[in-house]
């Protein structure tokens, strides 16, 4: 084969450089799993210990009964991708087409020298079934990529985000497959390729044999000979057929079985001369091969890295107990899982608290976005208090219902990620709302509000939701301070420690509202300790909606206080 355009040395150099980058990248990214700090154990476990724990764990898993589980994971989760099928048939068709088509092309076609030739001694890429299968697998990839593109054009929104990595991945796949098809087609119609083959594998016995062969190939196999003028007769074709069977058939099947490239070649026929002259088939070959090499080098830094991380994650989480987390191996596993996420959005679509997102519009509620944030947190990005507050809100709205972990196609233990990142958030001063709201008492909050609200913009104030009860004095004005609400309140009754005592009891809250001291009512512990048992409301002789009011105050307080800096010192004279 003489493709002297750039030379095989160039190709081999390119291949080895790509392979080098790929391997180095993979090693670098895997090594990072052991260095990244995630979760509450962060910083306490040295890297050495993490490595040895992972090695020990791997060895223990391989030499135990869990070994059988590995086969189950390999067959169902990896080969059949049953976890995707569980949630969506169309997505499974998409992913399986790309995965299976591309893998078969890789094994049968790209690595034919190493694999196919050894398995099938009579292998030639232009023989059937290989020629047919190559087209079939190519079509599978194209169909899968087509569905992927359609999905991303069709669905826009927080459940499916298209980033550059997604675009690059899809584009690269498309370039590789399309250039492959085009190269095959252009070769079919290329006169120079035909001549080269003929000069290598054919010797004419009779003067018209060459013409006969060309006539047969141009009629049957779609070859084009723009410089030749000959009249096709049945005799000539019969002769050509015989010659083709003798000289070509051992390596060339009917080109029609290349069911994509053959019709494509038909479309290219009008341009056959110029294509042949410009040696298009060679250029396309370079595009095809170099695109593959670039893909190889890009793999560790692209979405394709999930080819490595997802099987590993599925295996690790498939055989380990998700509810019993080993603190030594937890950190490398979590880091690996962060790399395994392909942002497919399945978790967000199944999230139990996703409806809350529709109300609050905080994307940190959605697991897909949350995991990205966990990644940013793990990488040690500096975030300001306001940003952490938004993240904390999302993190603690999660009910840890386990649903996302159940559906994640990559098998990520999301539950553990949430619990770990929550502890991290709590450590940075952003715990559960009722914890940080108790940092100050009612009057301290009231001072803080006065101090900070002055600096708020008009626009922020306008965003507050409309409140029905606490804004309407008719709601609490009938209160006669009979204390029935306080008397029946089990929260007031249950307090025993004066330190944690309810500071402002329900009837006092009603009185604060009547006095217009809403700010003081907001920071009251009663508001935060209320269990909404409705005893007060059911017993109020004046029919005041005490519980509903307290619940509304809770919401108002949270909305106000989350905007207030809890760490800043305020030096205001309270008088």
């Amino acid at each position: 084969m003489e493709r002297t355009l750039l030379g095989s040395t160039f190709l081999f150099t390119f291949l080895f450089v790509s392979l080098g980058i790929c391997l180095a990248g993979i090693i670098f990214r895997i090594a990072r799993w052991f260095a990244v700090d995630t979760g509450p154990e962060a910083g306490f476990i040295p890297v050495k210990k993490r490595v040895s724990a992972v090695l020990k764990g791997t060895a223990a898993a391989l030499f135990s009964l869990k070994f059988l589980k590995i086969f189950k994971v390999l067959f169902f989760d990896l080969l059949l991708q049953s976890r995707i099928l569980k949630t969506s048939l169309s997505r499974w068709i998409m992913h399986f087409s790309i995965f299976f088509g591309f893998m078969m092309l890789l094994l049968m076609h790209a690595l034919d020298e190493i694999i196919t030739k050894r398995l099938f001694p009579g292998y030639f890429p232009t023989l059937d079934p290989f020629q047919f299968l190559r087209n079939l697998f190519g079509v599978m990839v194209i169909v899968g990529v087509g569905i992927a593109v359609y999905r991303r054009l069709r669905y826009r929104g927080p459940m499916l985000i298209t980033r550059y990595t997604d675009r690059y991945a899809v584009a690269l796949l498309a370039v590789i497959i399309v250039s492959g098809f085009l190269e095959e087609s252009s070769k079919m119609i290329s006169e120079s390729s035909f001549n080269r083959m003929m000069s290598g594998y054919f010797s004419a016995c009779e003067p018209h044999d060459e013409t006969a062969l060309k006539a047969f190939w141009s009629r049957e196999y779609g070859s084009v000979f723009p410089t030749m003028k000959f009249r096709i007769t049945p005799e000539l074709l019969a002769r050509g057929k015989k010659l083709s069977e003798e000289s070509c058939a051992s390596c060339h099947a009917d080109t029609r079985t290349a069911f994509i490239s053959y019709p494509a070649a038909g479309f290219m026929k009008p341009f056959a001369l110029s294509l042949s002259k410009s040696r298009a088939e060679v250029w396309l070959y370079y595009i095809h091969v170099l695109a593959c090499f670039i893909g190889l080098a890009y793999l560790p830094f692209s979405k394709f890295f999930h080819l490595i991380t997802d099987p590993l994650t599925l295996l690790v989480n498939g055989i380990s107990d998700k509810k019993k987390v080993n603190p030594l191996t937890a950190m490398p596993r979590r880091a690996m899982e962060l790399d395994a996420c392909t942002e497919c959005g399945t978790c967000s679509r199944y999230c139990s608290v996703a409806p809350v997102f529709r109300m609050l519009q905080n994307t940190e509620i959605l697991p897909m976005h949350k995991l990205r944030t966990v990644k940013r947190l793990a990488s040690g990005k500096d975030m300001d208090s306001a940003e952490l507050q938004i993240i904390s809100e999302g993190a603690f709205i999660c009910t840890t219902c386990f649903k996302c972990t159940e559906v994640c196609p990559a098998g990520i233990n999301l539950q553990d990620q949430w619990l770990a990142s929550r502890e991290l958030l709590s450590e940075t001063g952003h715990p559960l709302p009722h914890v940080w709201l108790k940092k100050f008492n009612a009057s301290e909050w009231s001072d803080r509000m006065r101090y900070f609200e002055a600096s708020w913009k008009e626009a922020d104030a306008g965003k507050e939701r409309y409140y029905n009860l606490t804004d309407d004095s008719n709601v609490f004005a009938p209160c006669i301070q009979c204390q029935t609400c306080t008397n029946v309140c089990p929260v007031v009754a249950a307090r025993t420690d004066p330190k944690d005592a309810v500071d402002i009891t329900p009837h006092k809250i009603m009185n604060l509202l009547r006095l217009g001291l809403h700010d003081l009512a907001l920071g009251s512990r009663m508001v935060w300790d209320c269990t909404t048992c409705y005893q007060c409301q059911e017993n109020c002789p004046q029919g005041i909606k005490v519980t509903d009011i307290i619940y509304e105050l809770k919401n108002r307080a949270y909305e106000h206080f989350k905007k207030i800096d809890r760490t800043a010192e305020i030096n205001e004279d309270p008088c």
């Binding site: 007031v492 009754a493 004066p498």
Partner: protein
């Protein structure tokens, strides 16, 4: 008399009587109705009886401008009648009032809250302010207080750290001159050390446990010394008051009694508990926290009552209505710039000419204020009448404090008025209406 559940809200189902109001008058009317086998339905807010002190007054002061206290309530009522007063008592016989009290007392006694009264005598009861209140009928748990006061026996008043509106020291210092044997002590209620506030219902709930009572008694024991009675704020349990008093008496070795507190107090909760839990099994359909929004009258005379509330509206048909919605606090009467009005039936009211004459110049005027005697005027069957004395509806009966020509707060006749007029209204409904054969029945 169990009611078919499916008929509860069917407007075609005809109840005998609908009681509107859930205070003492409404509750008494419901009790008298179910005791007389009338199919009864009652609507009203949840806490009508919460403000009751637990004491049942009959009549203690008359005339109010003189603040004359009567030792015998019947004599006070007789004086009313003799002077030609329009007070509702003037329309009821002593026997009827006495029977009404007996029926209520026996009901409460059977429900676990026994009462004591003496036939012709008002009883002196110590209040949380240290004043003496004259009342007719006292709960058993307060009885020893009456005895102790009469004897002026050495007595210990116990109060608790953090309990507002009750001070043993105030009581003892107010009564020091007439009762030198009174001594006050303040202790911490078990498990409330350090709290700056405790609430009576929570203490009452805690005392339902014998361990708490033992712990409390141990704290009081060293303080008893010469005392022969022990007085507590009215927090001795909610459902087992009699047993709790008996247990404390055994532990302390001396009789104990309760002192009524400011409303809403624990005895009010006890009454509410009893009415809420005992009346429905006797056949009362109680629409809790439901208000009657509007009323219409059918051609046959039956009332259709539109019941509102948190749920969607429903309709009740009843052959008669007892209106016991109280005055302003119970929202039986409302006011605007022109005067006061009755919002449900728009009944004509006895009331001062204009707002300017509602009140006297002085807030504490000894004769009270004209607005405190405003209300619905009735005939001898407790049916509402208009200005000319004509009955408005033959099946609408009025009971309780919404009635005109009485100032129950100053006359100390509130509970008696509620109970007696409810009794009279129910009986009038049966005698003048139910027994008439020309009325269409269900």
């Amino acid at each position: 008399m169990a009611l078919p559940k499916s008929h509860n809200y069917d407007p075609k189902h005809v109840f005998d009587i609908m009681v509107i109001g859930s205070g003492i008058a409404g509750m008494a009317a419901s009790l008298f109705s179910v005791n007389r086998k009338l199919s009864t339905v009652q609507a009203g807010s949840v806490g009508g009886t919460l403000f009751a002190s637990g004491l049942f007054d009959l009549m203690a002061i008359h005339p109010v401008e003189e603040k004359r206290v009567w030792a015998d309530p019947w004599e006070a009522i007789a004086a009313l009648r003799k002077q030609g007063s329009l007070h509702p008592y003037a329309r009821i016989s002593d026997d009827a009032i006495q029977s009404a009290f007996e029926e209520i007392a026996s009901f409460l006694s059977s429900a676990g809250m026994a009462y004591r009264f003496e036939k012709n005598r008002n009883l002196p009861v110590i209040t949380s302010m240290g004043t003496i209140k004259h009342t007719y009928c006292v709960p058993e748990s307060m009885w020893h207080g009456v005895e102790a006061y009469n004897e002026k026996a050495p007595c210990l008043i116990i109060d608790f750290n953090g309990l507002r509106e009750f001070s043993g020291r105030q009581i003892s210092s107010t009564l020091r001159e007439e009762w030198p044997g009174l001594r006050a002590v303040r202790i911490s209620f078990p498990d409330t050390e350090g709290l700056n506030e405790v609430h009576p219902v929570h203490l009452a709930q805690a005392l339902e446990l014998s361990a708490v009572r033992e712990s409390l008694a141990a704290r009081i024991q060293p303080e008893i010394r010469e005392a022969r009675y022990a007085g507590f704020p009215a927090v001795l349990g909610i459902k087992k008051t009699a047993a709790i008093c008996a247990h404390l008496e055994k532990l302390l070795g001396i009789p104990v009694f309760e002192i009524p507190m400011m409303p809403a107090s624990v005895p009010g909760f006890r009454l509410k508990e009893i009415f809420d839990s005992v009346l429905p099994p006797k056949g009362l359909l109680r629409l809790i926290d439901k208000r009657v929004e509007s009323v219409a009258r059918l051609d046959n005379g039956n009332f259709i009552l539109n019941i509102g509330g948190p749920d969607q509206e429903q309709f009740i048909q009843a052959r008669g209505v007892i209106l016991a919605t109280g005055r302003f606090m119970g929202k039986g009467l409302l006011s605007d710039r022109k005067g006061i009005y009755e919002p449900l039936f728009h009944l004509p009211l006895h009331q001062p000419e204009s707002r300017i004459s509602w009140h006297h110049e002085r807030f504490l005027d000894p004769s009270g204020h004209p607005i405190n005697s405003a209300g619905v005027e009735v005939d001898d069957s407790f049916r509402a009448v208009d200005g000319t004395g004509k009955t408005i509806y033959d099946n609408l009966f009025i009971a309780g404090s919404i009635l005109a020509h009485q100032d129950w707060m100053r006359m100390k006749c509130g509970s008696g008025l509620a109970i007696a007029t409810a009794y009279a209204a129910v009986n009038a409904f049966i005698n003048n209406f139910m027994n008439k054969s020309d009325r269409i029945t269900a």
